[in-house]
Symmetry: D2
Subunit: 394 residues, 4 copies
C-alpha cells in the first residue's frame, strides 16, 4: 500500500457517476480535515480514447481499460465502482479479494444472490472498508433528521411516507436507455430511485421494513432507440426503430416496519413536473419531519412539545455550524448542492479507512435493501403481501 | 310543497355538521342568484333543549325531536341529513319515500348494502334531488382542477397520489369519541376522511378505482372515556375508564384505476403536525396538478406544453372571476375558507332542484365510493389485491 | 334606543363593502356569544331601486336614500359607514351628534382636518363606540402576531417591512374608477391599501411612525372611461374617452418608529402577479414574524430562543382553539377566509357596545394613520424626510 | 506570459473568499470546456505560516507575503483580489499596470474616487480583463431572470424590490469584526450586501438608479472585542473590552431608475431568522419575477400573457439543460449551491480572457455601484433625495 498520507483511488466507470465521484475525491480534503489525502490514480473504462479523456477531465493520473488488472495493482488503495449494476458483484468481489477498500454505487447488485455474496465477502474482510453509495444519507438535512429521530425527538414512529418523483420519461418519445433494459439495470424506477427511499426510510427510523404490498407499472412499453446525438431526456428521430421497455416505470407499495410503523412508498419517472422530488415525511408520537430534495437545504421539523398555539413545522436551513457537515462549508444560509452528499460520502469513507471506524451503509445494509426490492417485485407479481426475507448477514 | 320561491329545509342533526350546513343554507342566496330562497324550517335532534338551542343558533324557525314526523311534513321540501352515519339510510329512505329532496352527509351509509338501497331509492325517484355531501368538490381550486382535467390539459392520467393527514388523535390520551366506535361510525379514518380522497380522486379524473391493495392500522387500541367537559382533541381526566377503539387510526392503499392510472392513498389522524392536509397530486402525460387543503385557495398547475426552460408548477390563486364559484365573492386574492365548499354545495343543490339538472355526487356515485371503502377493508383483512365490486346502479 | 337584546344597524353604502359588512352583521352572533343580537334595520344609498335591491340582498329590513334622516332615527343604534371616503366625516359627525355608535370604513377621512374633527367628536362622546374598520387586524394570524409581540417574544423591535401588493391596475387599459379620482378617494394606492400597512405595523408593534421619507408614482396617467357593463379590472371599449388619473399608482417610503425601529413600506396596484399580497415581516432582538395575506391562515414565527441547530420560521396554522377568534369556527386546519376579519370586527364592535370596553382602532388611532399618510404625501412632494405631526388627541 | 493553454493565477487573500475562489479556479475547467486551464500559482497573505497553510489547502503551487512582488511576476497571468476592500485599489492598479488580468472582489473599492481610478485604469488597458466579483449574477436563476427581462417578457419595468437580509449580528454580544470598522470595510451592511442588491437590480433591468432617498441605522453601537478562538457569529467572553461599531447595521432606501421604475431596497444583518435572504422581485407591465437565494435553484416567473384563470407565479427549477450554466452540471432537479456562482464567474473570466469578449461586471459598472452607495450614504446623512453622480467612464 501507499504511504498512509495518500489514498490512491481507482474509479471504475466514466459516466455521470464517475464524474461525480471524481469531483468528490478531488474536493473532500480541501474542506474537511482528513488523515489521508485522496488521489485519483486511475480511471477505468471500456473505450480507451473515451477513458483517457475522462481521466483528464476527472483529474486522474492515468486511465486503463482492464478493471481486473487495476483492482489487483499494489499501488491502489480504494476501488470505487461507478459502472452499471450488472458489473458490481464481480468487480467488488475481486477488489475485496485483493484486499482493497471498496465504495460501490447503489444498487449494490442486480440480484439478492449477488448482493448477499458481496455482503458475505465484506464481512469476511473486516480490515477493509466496504461501503455502498446511498449518498442521499449525507445530505445535511437528512443527517439532521437522523440525529433528531435517534435522539427520540419524534417519539414512537408511526408513519413513513416516501416519494421519489421524477419525470424524464413522461414523454413517450423519450428514447430508450440502458436504464430501461432489465438485463443491464436489474430493475427500473424501483431499483434506481425507489432504492434510495427504502434506504433513507430504514436508516432514518433505525428500523426495517418487515413486509410489503406492491404494484408496479410500465406506462410506455416501447420506446425509440436512442440516437447517439440526443441527450438524456431528448427525443429520438421520427421513424427510429423501437425497443421494448423491460423494467417498471413506476412502483408503489405499502410497508409494515418491524417496529410497527406504516410506510407508503412511491417511485416514478413519470410524475410530470417533478424533476427530482425525493421526499420523505415521518410522523411520530412526539414530532415529525418533512423533506423534499428539491429544497435540499431545508428540513421541516415539527415538535409536539412546543406550546399549544405555537406549534408548526419549522423550516430549518441546515447550513449552520451546528449541523452535520455544514461547518466545513459556507456561512449560514449559503446553501449546498446535490454534489455535496457525494463529497461527504468520501469524507466518511476516508475517515472509516483511517480511523477504522464503523461503515454505513455497509454491504450488509445494502443487501437488505436489495431484499426489500425483491419482496416488492414479488408482491407486485403475486398481488399479495410479501415478507422481506432476512439475510444470513442481517 | 311550498311556493317555488321558498325552499323549506329540515336539518337533521345539531352537531358541528348541522351548524355548518345551517350557515350554508343561510348564506347561499345572499351571494348567488338562486330561483328559490332557502329557509331553515326546522332542526331535528334527540335532546329537546339542546335542539331548541341549536334552532336558535342556526337561525331555524323551529325545532323537533322526531325525524320520522318531520320528513313527512308537507311543508318540508328538503331533508338535510347531518346525523352520524348509522342513521343515514333509514332517514334518507323515509325522506325519499315521502318525496323530499335529500342532501346526505358523507359517508352515504355505514355499509354497502345500505348505500346501495339508498342509491336504488334515489334512482326510483327521478323527480327529487338526492345528493351526497362530498363538499370538498366545491372548493374552487378543486373545481378548477376538474375543469382542467376534463379539458384534457393533463392528457392521459398516470398517477394519483392522495393523502388526507390529520393529527388530532396522535396523543394516546386524547379521549374516546363516537368516531372511534365502529357501531356508530362504520369505519374510522378510512370512512371519515379517506372517503373524501377517494371521491375527489375519482371525480377529478372522471375514472373509477378498479382494485385496491390495502393496509389499515390502529396505533392506540384503547382510550380514556370522554369527559363531557372536555372538547374534541382535549385530554381526559387521569384515571378515566378506558374504552376499546374499534376502528382504524390509519389506512393506506395502492389502487389501479379502470383507465390504467396508478393510485396511492393514505388517510390518518396520527400525522403529527398535519392539521388538515387534504392533499392530492395528479400527473398526466401533458400536465399535472397539486393541491393541499391547508392552502385551499391555491391550485398548483404544471403544463408540459410550456416552453422548455420555462416549465414549472404555477400557483394559481383560485379567487378570480374566471374561476368556479369565485365571481360571487371577493376581489382576486381575497381568499375563501373551509365553509365556502358547503355554501357552494347548497347553491348546487338549490339549482339542481329548480333547474332539474344533473346531481353530483349522486347517491349512486356515493355508493360506489362505499364499495371502494369495502374493498379496502377486505384487502386489508386478506392481505391481497381486492377488486371493487360494481353496483347495480353504477 | 331599542331593547338591549337587539342592536339595530344602519348600513350606509350599497357597494362591495356594504355587502361585506352586511354578511358580518348577519353572521357574528351565529358563531360568537354576544349580549346583543344585531339586526340590519336599513340600508342607505343614493339610488332608490338599487338600494332596495341591496336591502333584500343584504337581509336588511328596509332601505332609504337620505342618510341624514336615518342617522337621527331613534330606532337606530349603530351607523355603519361603508360609503366612499369623501362622505365619512359628514356622516360620522352627524351620527355621533345623534348619539349613535359608529363603525366607519377606512380611511377614516380624506383629510387630516376631517379625521381630527371626527376623533375629537368621538372623544367628546365617551358613551358611544366609534371604531374605524381596519379589519385586517382581526385576521387571527395577525391577532396572534400582536399577542406574541405584546408578550415580548420578539424582544426589541428593529425592522418592520410591509408591502401591500396588488395588480388590478397593471393593465394600462383597465378603466377609470372613482378610486383614481383624488376628489372622491382622497388618495390612491397609498390611502386605499398603504393605510392598512401603516395601521397594521403600528398596531402590531405598539409603536408609532415618527418620520417618513417617501416617493409616489403614477405609472399610467390616463385611462379609458369605464363602460358600465365592464366590471372592475375589465377592459374598456376601444376608443373610449380617456380621463386623467389624479392619484398615485404606487407609494414607497422608509420610516423611523418612535422606538427606533426601521420601517420600509410599499403599496402598489401594479405589482403584476400579486393579487393581494398584504405582507408584513417584523424582526426583533429575540424573534421575528412573517405574514402574507395570500396565505392568511398562516403565521410564520421565528423564536431566537430555540436551540442552535433547531431554529427556523415555523408555520403556525392559526386555526386552533388557542388562537384569537378561532375557537368559534371549524376544527384545526380548516381555514378561514377574507370575510372573517369583518365578522370578528362586528364581534368586537358589539362587545365594545355591550361591555363598554375599550375600542380599537379608535377614531384617534385612525386619525393618526391619516397624519402618517399626510406626511408620506408631503415627503414625496418635497423629496425630504417629513415628521409625522402629533394630533391634539394623540 | 505563460502558454495560452495554462492560466496562472495569484490569489491575494487567505480568508473565506480566497478559499471560495480557489475552489472555483480548481473546478471550472472540470465541468466547462475552456480554452485555457487555470492553475493557482500562488496565494498571497500577510502571515507566512498561515499563508503557506492556505496554499496547501487551496491547492496552490506556492505562497508569498509580498503582493507587490507577485503582481509583477512574469509568470502570473491573473491577479485575483480577495483581500479586504481597503486594499483593492492599490493592488488592482499595480496589477493592471503590470499588464495582468484582474478579478477583484466586491465592493470594488472603499471610495468612489478609488473606484473611478480603477475603472479608468481598466479602460486604459483594453487588452486585459478587469472584472468585479458580483458573483450572484452567475446564479443560474438570476441569469435566467436576466434573459427573460432582456427578451421583453416582463415588458416595461415598474417595480424593483430587493432585500438582502441576514441575522448574524442580531445578538448584541456577537463580537466585533473588521467588517464593523469603517476604516477597513468602507461601509457596513450597505457595502457588504446592499451592494449586491444594487448590482443585481441594475443588471437584471439593464437600467440605472438615478436617485435615492435613504436611511441607515446602527442598532448596536459597540460590541465586545473578538476572542481569537471564537468564530464568526459566536459570543465573546464576558467582560471583554468593547469597541465602537463605525458602520451601519442596516440601510434602506427608495430609488428611482432612469427608465422610471420605482425601487425599494433594504439590507440588514439584524433580520432575526433570515440567514441569507437575498431576495429580488421585479414587476413589469407584462410579467414579473421573484427570487430568494434561500431557495437559489428556483426562479418564480409570472407571465401576464397566460390565459385568464390560469395565471400564477410558476416555480422554475433552474437546473435544466436549457438554463444558463446548468447543462454542465447534474440532471434536472439536482440543485446547485452557493459556490457555483463563483465557479461560473471563473468560467466567464477565463472565456473573456481567451475569447477577448466583453467583461461584465466591468470595473466601470462596479464603480457606478459605488456611486450609488455614496448617494445612499449622502442621502441618509442629509435626509433628502440624492442624485447618483454620473462617472466619467459611465
Amino acid at each position: 500500500m501507499s504511504s498512509p498520507a495518500v489514498l490512491r483511488v481507482a474509479i471504475i466507470g466514466t459516466g455521470f457517476m464517475g464524474k461525480m465521484h471524481a469531483h468528490a475525491w478531488r474536493t473532500a480534503h480541501r474542506f474537511f480535515p482528513l488523515d489521508a489525502t485522496p488521489e485519483i490514480a486511475v480511471v477505468v473504462g471500456r473505450d480507451p480514447d473515451r477513458t483517457a479523456a475522462a481521466a483528464t477531465e476527472f483529474g486522474a493520473l492515468a486511465s486503463a481499460t482492464d478493471w481486473r488488472e487495476v483492482v489487483t495493482r499494489p499501488d491502489i488503495d480504494v476501488v470505487d465502482i461507478c459502472a452499471p449494476g450488472d458489473t458490481h458483484a464481480e468487480i467488488a468481489l475481486a477488489a475485496l479479494a485483493a484486499g482493497k477498500h471498496v465504495l460501490c454505487e447503489k444498487p449494490l447488485a442486480n440480484s439478492v444472490a449477488d448482493a448477499d455474496r458481496m455482503a458475505a465477502a465484506a464481512e469476511a474482510a473486516p480490515d477493509v472498508v466496504a461501503m455502498c453509495g446511498f449518498s442521499y444519507r449525507r445530505t445535511p438535512a437528512l443527517s439532521l433528521a437522523r440525529e433528531l429521530i435517534a435522539a427520540g425527538r419524534l417519539g414512537e414512529i408511526r408513519h413513513v411516507r416516501a416519494q421519489y418523483l421524477q419525470d424524464w420519461l413522461s414523454d413517450p418519445e423519450a428514447p430508450f436507455t440502458w436504464r430501461l433494459d432489465r438485463a443491464r439495470a436489474g430493475s427500473g424506477t424501483l431499483g434506481d430511485i425507489g432504492a434510495h427511499s427504502i434506504d433513507t426510510a430504514q436508516w432514518l427510523t433505525g428500523d426495517r421494513i418487515a413486509n410489503v404490498s406492491a404494484v408496479t407499472r410500465t406506462f410506455v412499453t416501447e420506446r425509440p432507440e436512442r440516437d447517439e446525438h440526443v441527450g438524456l431526456g431528448g427525443r429520438a428521430a421520427d421513424g427510429a426503430p423501437r425497443r421494448e421497455v423491460t423494467v417498471d416505470d413506476a412502483a408503489a407499495f405499502t410497508a409494515t416496519f418491524a417496529g410497527g410503523a406504516l410506510g407508503v412508498f412511491e417511485a416514478t419517472r413519470m410524475a410530470t413536473g417533478r424533476r427530482n422530488a425525493n421526499r420523505i415525511e415521518i410522523n411520530g408520537s412526539r414530532g415529525a419531519i418533512s423533506f423534499d430534495f428539491e429544497h435540499m437545504n431545508d428540513l421541516e421539523f415539527y415538535d409536539a412539545a412546543d406550546p399549544a398555539g405555537e406549534q408548526g413545522f419549522r423550516r430549518i436551513q441546515v447550513t449552520e455550524p451546528e449541523h452535520p457537515y455544514a461547518a466545513a462549508w459556507w456561512p449560514a444560509g449559503h446553501g449546498l448542492g446535490y454534489e455535496h452528499g457525494f463529497t461527504h460520502q468520501i469524507v466518511d469513507v476516508v475517515r472509516a479507512i483511517t480511523e477504522r471506524g464503523p461503515v454505513s451503509p455497509s454491504f450488509a445494509e445494502a443487501a437488505q435493501v436489495q431484499r426489500v426490492l425483491a419482496a416488492v417485485e414479488a408482491s407486485a407479481a403475486h398481488g399479495s403481501v410479501m415478507t422481506v426475507v432476512e439475510g444470513a448477514s442481517s
